[in-house]
């Protein structure tokens, strides 16, 4: 006797079938996509503004109609029925098709924008041409592939955000968090930078022009923020430009540590961040696909921390390469900068080793190795580098490889393209250096934890299954331990899907936060002492 094999099904067998309304809604959405696709094949639409509006409205409307039919006539509550029977959400046939399609889109977007109709020095054609009217309305400039991407990205977060709001309409934490990501994407990532572009060349900026800046996007996620051309842009744009440069530095060194201390890294990763925003909304049907094995965790730690080392070195090298050597011209020179970086890293490393060594246990060794590598590299930079060179490469080479490997391939092609295969947080978990740095703070220096409710856990596994970051939440909960993991983005879904009310995300006192003692209540106290004896 074996469970029915459902893996051969394309759209999932009953009970999971689409209702008539859902089929119609799919048709509407597909119609919108078809317009965009036709544009890609250079079909010229008579009135671009009208057809673009129709296309975007259909995509948005189709998704919203589909969701309302899927959730609104049901009781509020957890809606995971049939998730593993649908081929789209269980790595089945449609999951692979979606993965391949998305991956293909990202490859074209990053590497072959001319196929989308990008024309430099002339009128755009194709899809990008279709988006020209909207771009001109916002920033006054013709569209680029990034404008098209940004628009679709925002539409996705809004449409699937509404879906998420309905799916979790009983859960106030999820709802407020989703309003937040929808707001930050629309305002900060999409509209404000476009409008700011209108200021370029104006007297407000002393005639300078600001680089495109999504203010909530901080280094090192925004790994290019301190590149030469951007610094020039900031410094050319008067007080506003200077303020934005200072803000860029402050976000990572002052604002984010304070907020992470108070709320955990969730304030960023699942409330503000655009990558997180897409993962939490459009990516939500794929959260259960993340790998929870011990092996995946081991790989995760190596990969993500290597990216941190990589981005630190790359950024240092890039800034180093455009700084001068003459102190009389500008106080910040190549050598003072390197010394500054080394001192900062040493302070952080020293503090951790002195006060938090115990919590790191074995990882302390790896941390020490990483620190050592970076410091040696910095020394090497000083002695072995010439003008524009870092070691034997040009700093430009280092920057380009980072941008290609991490910025494009990892965060875009794999990170989002593979949503239906590896889950929706592959980038955040394995690749994002920002998440790693915030996670480091969260693990060692934050009030945030997921509290386990005494002995109520029944080891059912819903929490682990629906953890998009691949944390084996159950492993802690069933022992009565709090969950304090650097990778946790605080999405709150583990707590939502728990059938026994075991998990609660909360900010509390540092004392007793990481409690490795098992406090399974319900048992005699003497026995608990014996059980905890190691």
């Amino acid at each position: 006797m074996s469970t029915y094999d459902r893996s051969m099904a394309l759209t999932g067998q009953p009970p999971v079938t689409l209702s008539r309304n859902q089929k119609l809604a799919t048709l509407v959405g597909m119609f919108g996509l078809a317009i965009v696709l036709l544009a890609a094949f250079n079909v010229t639409f008579p009135s671009k503004a009208l057809w673009l509006s129709i296309a975007l409205a259909s995509i948005l409307g189709g998704t919203i109609w589909f969701s309302s039919d899927a959730y609104l006539h049901k009781q509020p509550g957890i809606k995971n029925d049939g998730v593993w029977f649908k081929s789209i959400s269980s790595q089945g046939f449609w999951g692979w098709i979606a993965g391949i399609a998305l991956t293909g889109f990202y490859i074209i977007l990053y590497f072959y924008p001319e196929y989308l109709g990008l024309v430099s020095g002339g009128d755009n054609k194709g899809v990008i041409g279709l988006f020209d009217p909207l771009s001109k309305a916002l920033s006054g400039n013709p569209a680029s592939q990034w404008f098209v991407y940004g628009t679709l990205y925002t539409i996705a977060i809004l449409a699937f955000g509404i879906k998420f709001l309905w799916k979790y309409r009983h859960n106030q934490y999820e709802r407020i968090r989703t309003f937040s990501v929808m707001f930050f994407q629309t305002a900060f990532a999409f509209i404000i930078p476009e409008l700011m572009a209108r200021l370029n060349g104006s007297s407000l900026l002393n005639g300078g022009s600001l680089p495109y800046y999504d203010l909530k996007n901080m280094w090192p996620l925004n790994y290019y923020n301190f590149e030469g051309y951007r610094i020039k842009g900031f410094l050319s744009s008067g007080d506003i430009g200077f303020a934005m440069l200072i803000f860029g530095v402050a976000t990572i060194f002052i604002i984010s540590p304070i907020l992470t201390y108070r709320f955990g890294k969730r304030w960023y990763c699942s409330w503000v961040c655009g990558c997180g925003g897409l993962a939490e909304t459009a990516g939500d049907p794929f959260r259960q696909l993340s790998d929870k094995s011990m092996k995946a965790w081991r790989i995760e730690r190596w990969v993500v921390h290597s990216v941190v080392v990589f981005v630190t070195l790359m950024t240092t090298a890039v800034i180093y390469s455009y700084l001068g050597t003459d102190t009389s011209k500008y106080w910040l020179t190549k050598s003072t900068f390197l010394i500054g970086v080394a001192v900062l890293l040493t302070l952080v490393f020293g503090w951790v080793m002195l006060f938090k060594r115990k919590q790191l246990q074995k990882d302390a060794q790896y941390g020490a190795i990483g620190y050592f590598v970076v410091i040696m590299a910095l020394i090497g930079m000083h002695f072995l580098s010439g003008d524009g060179n870092v070691f034997l490469f040009k700093s430009e080479t280092l920057r380009k490889s980072y941008s290609f490997l991490i910025g494009s391939i990892f965060s875009g092609v794999i990170g989002t393209g593979f949503y239906p295969i590896f889950g929706n947080r592959v980038w955040c978990r394995f690749g994002c250096p920002m998440a790693a740095i915030l996670g480091f703070q969260q693990r060692l220096f934050s009030r945030f934890r997921i509290t386990t409710n005494g002995g109520q856990c029944i080891s059912c596994g819903n929490c682990s299954t629906y953890c998009e970051m691949g944390i084996d939440v159950r492993a802690y909960a069933q022992k009565g331990e709090n969950i304090v993991r650097s990778s946790c983005v605080g999405c709150g879904i583990c707590s939502a899907v728990c059938p026994r009310g075991v998990l609660k995300l909360e900010n509390g006192p540092l004392k007793g936060r990481i409690d490795s003692n098992q406090v399974l209540l319900g048992n005699d106290v003497d026995l608990m002492q014996l059980v905890n004896k190691k």
């Binding site: 009970p15 957890i78 007793g512 209540l521 319900g522």
Partner: protein, 449 residues
């Protein structure tokens, strides 16, 4: 090296094995006829509902057992020879033990209804039952109507499972209101309503008379005792409770009642043989507890306790304050301490009940009518902090104190609406008190003083 053999790989047996391994390097063998690896029984429903795959409900990865030196044997224990300390598995393989732990769990009750062994009739307890359910009720085309007999926790879970595949369900409940042998009236009533919201044909005060065969040994209908009505159906779920799975021990010399009789040390009448979990029956009930406790948590506690005893530190099974939880469709239920339904209610027990005007949220607080001692709380749709109620029960707080500090115990996710003010004002008007609800205080919650 001592050989420890554990029969049964459920939560009790596996917890015992893990703790024996923590404290010793004895050889540990777990024998199970059900599955190769430990899984969470309470999560079987989610596999049928498509929330998880079977592999997700295994709490440990498959390499765990070998790494921790716990040997797993798949097979059915057919004979226990306590004189020679030997077990026979599948009538062929023989195992020697120095200490034996019986943790074989339960089986579904069948009360001799005519037709109870027809095809399409089953209980819901084991992995095999889950597989069988996939055959009996794969979708609403093959199973046009299901009838569930027995209104307890498994019955309502089975109803939820079948509804997740849009299968029409008729739910026969013997009691006048759902689970009112355990739940106070107001709560039971609220669950009745919620069952209706999920489009289930709930028949209260209704008994099964017989299950009708279609002539090919397959269920065709059920007949209801009270009305004689014949309900056509393709599936019958028998969920009228469970009882210890101990039939294989009949000739072993191990003393049996309904389950394996054990003393407070979880020892049976035979030296070096222990019983834990659902299959163990206390000679005398502990406090308000039943002699047989078929609950996940008690299985786990007994596993921890027996591991101490086996590793040379003989201790009694002394469970702390009672707690439990469940989920009725979308409504979460938690209980701490003792709150009884009408049937089990003690003379001195008084109850305070509050229910939300529109939402499916309610609580019941039980206290001693004379000395006002807080006895326990049931909550529906509000999560409560286990640690706090455990502390209040240990400190023997009175009910006024509990009402005053109720907000400290709230465990709902952040930004949820809080109901404590309304609850306390109803308490005040019900009992002529003038208590003001305190503000939430993390110093009190985390005991920082």
């Amino acid at each position: 090296m001592e050989h420890i053999v554990i029969i049964g790989n459920g939560i009790a047996g596996v917890t015992a094995a893990r703790h024996i391994r923590k404290h010793s390097d004895k050889r540990i063998i777990i024998i199970s006829a059900e599955t190769d690896h430990f899984f969470s029984r309470t999560a079987l429903m989610y596999v049928y509902m498509g929330h998880m795959k079977f592999e997700h409900i295994k709490p440990y990865e498959d390499w765990f057992w070998q790494k921790n030196g716990i040997e797993l044997v798949r097979g059915y224990v057919t004979e226990v020879d306590t004189e020679n300390k030997k077990l026979l598995v599948d009538n062929t393989k023989s195992f020697h033990y120095d200490k034996l732990v019986i943790a074989t769990g339960s089986k579904s009750n069948k009360f001799g209804w005519p037709g109870q062994d027809l095809h399409g009739v089953q209980g819901l307890y084991s992995k095999q039952d889950l597989d069988l359910l996939e055959v009996n009720a794969p979708n609403k085309e093959k199973c046009k109507r299901a009838v569930i007999v027995g209104g307890g926790l498994i019955g309502i879970e089975l109803a939820e499972m079948l509804r997740s595949r849009d299968i029409p369900v008729t739910f026969l409940v013997r009691e006048s209101s759902f689970w009112n042998g355990v739940l106070p009236e107001g709560e039971s009533q609220m669950i009745n309503e919620h069952i209706g919201e999920h489009h289930i044909d709930l028949r209260l005060g209704t008994n099964l008379k017989e299950i009708v065969s279609d002539g090919n040994n397959r269920v065709k209908a059920v007949i209801i005792q009270e009305t004689g009505e014949e309900l056509p159906c393709d599936f019958v779920g028998l969920t009228a409770g469970v009882s210890p799975n101990v039939d294989f021990l009949k000739d072993s010399g191990i003393e049996l009642g309904r389950g394996v009789k054990v003393n407070r040390f979880l020892e049976t009448n035979i030296k070096d043989v222990y019983a834990i979990g659902d299959c163990a029956e206390q000679r005398e009930a502990i406090g308000n507890r039943r002699p047989i406790e078929a609950v996940w948590y008690t299985g786990r506690m007994m596993g921890e306790t027996v591991a101490q005893t086996i590793c040379g530190n003989r201790i009694e099974y002394k469970p702390g304050h009672w707690f439990n939880s469940a989920k009725f469709f979308d409504i979460e239920y938690q209980t701490y301490g003792w709150v009884f339904g009408a049937r089990g209610k003690k003379e001195h027990e008084e109850q305070f009940h509050w229910r939300h005007d529109t939402e499916k949220i309610c609580i019941t607080v039980a206290f001693h009518g004379e000395n006002k001692l807080f006895l326990g709380i049931n909550t529906f749709g509000i999560r409560m902090r286990h640690e706090i109620f455990d502390r209040w029960l240990t400190e023997e707080r009175d009910v006024d104190y509990v009402m005053e500090h109720l907000v400290d115990a709230n465990f709902d996710p952040e930004f949820y609406k809080q109901y404590e003010v309304g609850i306390v004002s109803k308490y005040n008007s019900d009992f002529g008190k003038s208590i003001t609800a305190k503000k939430k205080n993390s110093k009190r919650i985390f005991q920082l003083n």
